[in-house]
Symmetry: C2
Subunit: 322 residues, 2 copies
């Protein structure tokens, strides 16, 4: 047949056949795509599972990012959640909804990006569902293995612990600000918005080092630190001077007369890992101490920055218009 | 606060808090909702996983079904896939996308329906994601446990096997036909379209009895039989006289001057289980023999009904307009 042009031309099963072509061998995949369900090994007797949906117009724009970038980003959001439990991602399934007139090449490139992100860390695409819808919507569900370790939850932070972060902060927010103003550079910031670089391997590393609590920074450092604080009933006291401002962020902030730390404290979507460790523990390479955990006190569990309790939301909540 | 009206009023976290309130204890759930990911026990060392998306306007209409029914149906589609592998469903995660002006009561009722379907068979809702979108879209990912048995795949049918089915055929199609003509009764047919009743427990029962292949009938008996036939490189020969036509289906078909077996052979969405068993095996209670497996011959692997090879698609494929 000639070169197909749209999803309607290649059809549901044609798209699935292209997406699942040449899947690499993976010892953890006991049964791959093509049946009612896939079967994945869970050697330690449990499975970690998380789901994440990206909606066109809300989470991405087809004119701001390539299909490949959007696919990588969709995978990253779910894989980072698995890493934040201290687990190793093993497999993903994807539900892909799109208009019938979407170019087939876009759908194939998007799933190629998803596969690239997944396969780069040794995990596998094992199944999915494809349907028509008015807008592109990508739901990625990731599973992972704890390799015998307990999960690192949000509720384990204790007064006296060190607060540490690994990965980028503020990069995606700065890139989004650049794009929102109609620019396409600085390229590294724009790329950071388009494709996050979560420090996946540092999730299990933090768990091995004894992290007492951990979360994936998707809503912003303050907002996600608050999730740990509330779950643990403590205060996470962040020292903003400990946040080294990268040159790219500093330059962009100066150009827009903004405080670069604003992006680093409230910008989401970089999928950094925020964790707490008992005082005296040697932090795994890649983590930087940015504060300490304090006993809860008036006005309650939450986050302070440079000694000031932060009362605003400082994070993104869907549906809310404020 | 007063009675909230829309998703925008209750917000993402408010909705999640309501949906996850009063989750029953479940020994297989090692960590429930509220963290970056959930943790579910997989005692037999592997996990079965499948994802399914329902889109408003494509898979359901809010004026044809209640929110509770749509939630149950969304769960059923994924749970039936797990059962069709011979596995016991253990947990689901749900990604819920909806307009900000959707009544909050609708979202809560939908997830209540989802929970009802999941919890009725001993599985658990363990997590999810909520976001805004122009239409309601519900992606359910289910996982399950094989309890030490091998998965029952599509490719295991062998010439000489018996073809058998458990659960309803044609009910959802008949109900859809009734609704499409503007009627709301016969109620049992309409209800069958709104909420399927997959014979979940018969999936593991078929596996224990030695089923050689199995599939969940979601696209139609012929279409799904063809999936087994192609994967196994055999012919599934169906004897339509073996399909007992229920009175309700007969009455509706007569009213519309249709052949009731047309609905039973091509209607999807009832999530019956179609399986093959070696000749002489005692079928598990609930399964009825409807044909036999033959060696592949010209024109190739596929399905025959009453001795006639069926060449048409006979099933639904997304994006295709034919």
């Amino acid at each position: 047949m000639g070169e197909a042009r749209t999803l309607a031309d290649v059809g549901e099963f044609g798209l699935i056949a292209r997406v699942t072509a040449d899947l690499p061998a993976n010892a953890g995949v006991l049964l791959g795509p093509g049946d009612d369900a896939a079967v994945v090994a869970t050697p330690s007797g449990s499975v970690v599972i998380s789901t994440d949906v990206l909606v066109e117009g809300r989470h991405f724009r087809r004119d701001w990012s390539t299909a490949l970038e959007i696919g990588r980003r969709a995978a990253a959001a779910s894989l980072a959640d698995i890493a934040a439990m201290g687990a190793r991602p093993s497999a993903v399934v994807v539900a892909f909804a799109a208009p019938a007139d979407l170019p087939a090449a876009w759908a194939i490139a998007c799933t190629s990006g998803l596969r690239a992100e997944v396969e780069a860390i040794g995990a596998a695409l094992v199944g999915g569902d494809v349907t028509s819808a008015d807008a592109v919507m990508i739901t990625v569900t990731a599973i992972g293995d704890l390799e015998g370790r307990p999960a690192v939850v949000r509720s384990g932070a204790r007064a006296g612990d060190v607060v540490a972060v690994a990965g980028r902060l503020g990069w995606a927010a700065a890139g989004l600000a650049v794009l929102s103003r109609g620019f396409r550079s600085p390229r590294r910031l724009v790329d950071a918005h388009r494709v996050p670089e979560p420090p996946y391997a540092l999730g299990p590393a933090a768990a091995i080092a004894g992290a007492t609590a951990m979360i994936d920074v998707s809503d912003g450092l303050i907002a996600d630190a608050r999730h740990i604080a509330v779950a643990s009933q403590v205060v996470l006291a962040i020292d903003s001077a400990a946040l080294a401002v990268p040159d790219e962020i500093q330059a962009a902030a100066s150009a827009y007369s903004l405080d670069p730390r604003e992006w680093m404290l409230t910008g989401g979507d970089d999928h950094a890992l925020l964790a707490t460790f008992a005082a005296g523990v040697e932090l795994p390479p890649g983590f930087t101490a940015i504060g300490e955990v304090l006993e809860v006190q008036a006005p309650g569990a939450g986050v302070s920055v440079d000694g000031h309790f932060v009362t605003v939301a400082g994070g993104h909540e869907h549906f809310r218009t404020s």
